[in-house]
Amino acid sequence: MEFVLQTIANGLLAGALYGLVALGLGLLMGVMKFLNIAHGTFIILGGYLSFWLFNLWGIDPFLSIPLVMIAMFLIGLVFYRLALSPLLKLPDVGMRIDTSMLITFGLIWVLDNAMTMLWTPNVRTILTSYTGETFRFFGARFSFTGLCGVGIAVLVGLALYSVLSRTYFGKHLRAATQDAEAASLCGVNVQRVYLISTGIAIALAGVAGAVIVSSYSISASGGIGWLLIAFVVMVLAGEGNINAIIPAGLVYGLLEAGSVLIFGVPYRQAIALLVFVLVLMFKPQGLFAKRE
């Protein structure tokens, strides 16, 4: 019983993080129709930034999140200018998705190897004074860093949702995605809106990386694993359904926990991925799609 509760607790902690991991990918793909395969790699980059801020200047990983976000936001701007903005010329959205997939795929190569060269292939993690501290609720242990991760995930998810639905910027972004030409006729500067959104998406990847390096660990080539998780969560949420991403992350975390209980730890990810492919096939609009 103890074990079951603990597994579910772990699933929830991991699940919130999974949701956080998927937010940036969901924003780029679901809203802007750019498929960023290098998303996981940007997450790792964010993790490294957080790691070095802690190691060199001793800045607490949770306090340094704003700094990481700003740095990643700027990186996102460069990324958009160089790699994504030329794709707006492509005649249709399908080609935009395919080509952005290939370009960011090349980017993985560049960034992965650059990070390996800069920071060695070693696994890195942040050890603070509170690492390993836990709380007990209902017979299960929750780690302090994990709980912080949950808090951040929920906070960031809500913030993104309200930016998209409430602000002028969010409305411009959605309008531009539905019909870029019509949006520009309304006075929307489509290029600038896309530029800033890409910055936000990459900043979100940075937050995820910072949380990961404080509760788990990162390595230069670990991006692909996180990319896959981000994909899964995005598909479970339903493409474009930003506000369902954090819940979908929790579902995926619990799914993993369930497969640990039934099949044991080694098959944790395999089972969850299988379920994902089934969802992809039979409910491609996602688990959280609203019926119209």
């Binding site: 790699a83 080509t99 997939m101 560049v110 190897n113 994909f231 098959y267």
Partner: protein, 324 residues
């Protein structure tokens, strides 16, 4: 375009030259290894080309077919089956795997097919990693009689077979169907009922080739410290790169891309170390963005611009397509 008989002659001469080469001149171990890797890359990138280049389905699960071919060939060969049968068994096992992976995922469209195949290949990697916890290797007797020459000939044969298969497919009704699937999906038209059939055939053939490629690799490398390494996404990504850089959706694009990638990475690896992979990544991005027809396509385009009559190198010029 060259007339068919001339083209056959050129290819025949090339085959002969490759066949004779190890007998006529002394090729060092390093160069032989390099050539065998080129062959394996030709096989794999041609495999990717059939499903990704001609049919337009971006398959990110190639590594699973390759890995499956490696494992099955390894064990069948260990069971004292002749190597050429073992390699074929590897190819067939990949076809079976493609049936299991492909039939469901081929119903997915565009990027989702890519994601689905990627996820399933990862599932394969994890499962295999759990089953084979220790390294696998051939008995010592195999290592004692090890020579690179037979590996060279096997690789050569399979590589030319892969090119030939691609050639005949593109000239058949099946090839036309595949290209039609790709173009109609790109134009977002409603596709006919048969598009699924063409996708399945393309995937099965592609998987067969990838499995054969795995077989050649199993023949070349007798032991595998980490079995999961042959299921690593690298085995998807590098052939994909070779195909796209060379020019996917063309016959010789992947061949040129493979030579380019393998040989250059050898040269760069010596002089630049890790940095050479960064250069490849950048090169790949540039090709996708500015030379959507790959090296081959841009050569033929430049030629066309120069002469306007352009007997394009780009084999099936009309098939060159943006991105793939």
């Amino acid at each position: 375009m060259l007339p068919d008989w001339k083209r056959l002659l050129v290819i025949g001469l090339l085959v002969l030259a490759f066949m004779a080469a190890p007998m006529v001149i002394e090729i060092g171990t390093g160069s032989l290894n390099l050539l065998i890797m080129v062959f394996i890359f030709v096989i794999l990138s041609q495999s990717w080309n059939i499903i990704g280049g001609y049919t337009g389905q971006i398959n990110l699960g190639l590594a699973a077919f390759f890995g499956c071919g490696v494992l099955v060939t390894h064990f069948v060969w260990k069971a004292e089956m002749p190597i050429y049968l073992a390699v074929i068994a590897g190819g067939l096992s990949a076809v079976v795997l493609a049936g299991i992976i492909g039939l469901p995922t081929l119903r997915l469209k565009g990027a989702y097919f890519a994601i689905g195949t990627f996820a399933l290949a990862e599932v394969c990697r994890i499962v295999v990693g759990n089953i084979f916890e220790r390294m696998i290797e051939m008995p010592g007797s195999y290592a004692a009689s090890y020579s690179l020459i037979p590996r060279y000939y096997l690789g050569l044969t399979v590589a030319f077979a892969a090119i030939a298969v691609t050639y005949f497919i593109t000239r058949s009704k099946l090839g036309l169907g595949m290209v039609a699937v790709r173009d109609s999906e790109q134009a977002a038209q409603v596709t006919g009922v048969n598009s699924f059939k063409y996708k399945v055939y393309a995937l099965l053939i592609s998987a067969f080739l990838a499995g054969l490629g795995g077989g050649v690799y199993a023949f070349m490398r007798l032991s595998f410290h980490y079995v999961t390494a042959v299921f690593s996404p690298i085995w998807t990504f590098e052939p994909l790169m070779a195909a796209v850089i060379g020019g996917s959706g063309t016959l010789i694009g992947p061949v040129i891309g493979s030579i380019f990638l393998v040989v250059l990475s050898e040269i760069f690896a010596l002089t630049l170390g890790e940095a050479h992979l960064i250069i490849f990544g950048l090169l790949f991005i540039l090709v996708v963005m500015y030379f959507p027809y790959g090296l081959v396509g841009s050569v033929s385009r430049i030629r066309q611009i120069i002469s306007r009559v352009g007997r394009g190198l780009c084999e099936t010029g009309e098939n060159c397509r943006k991105g793939f």
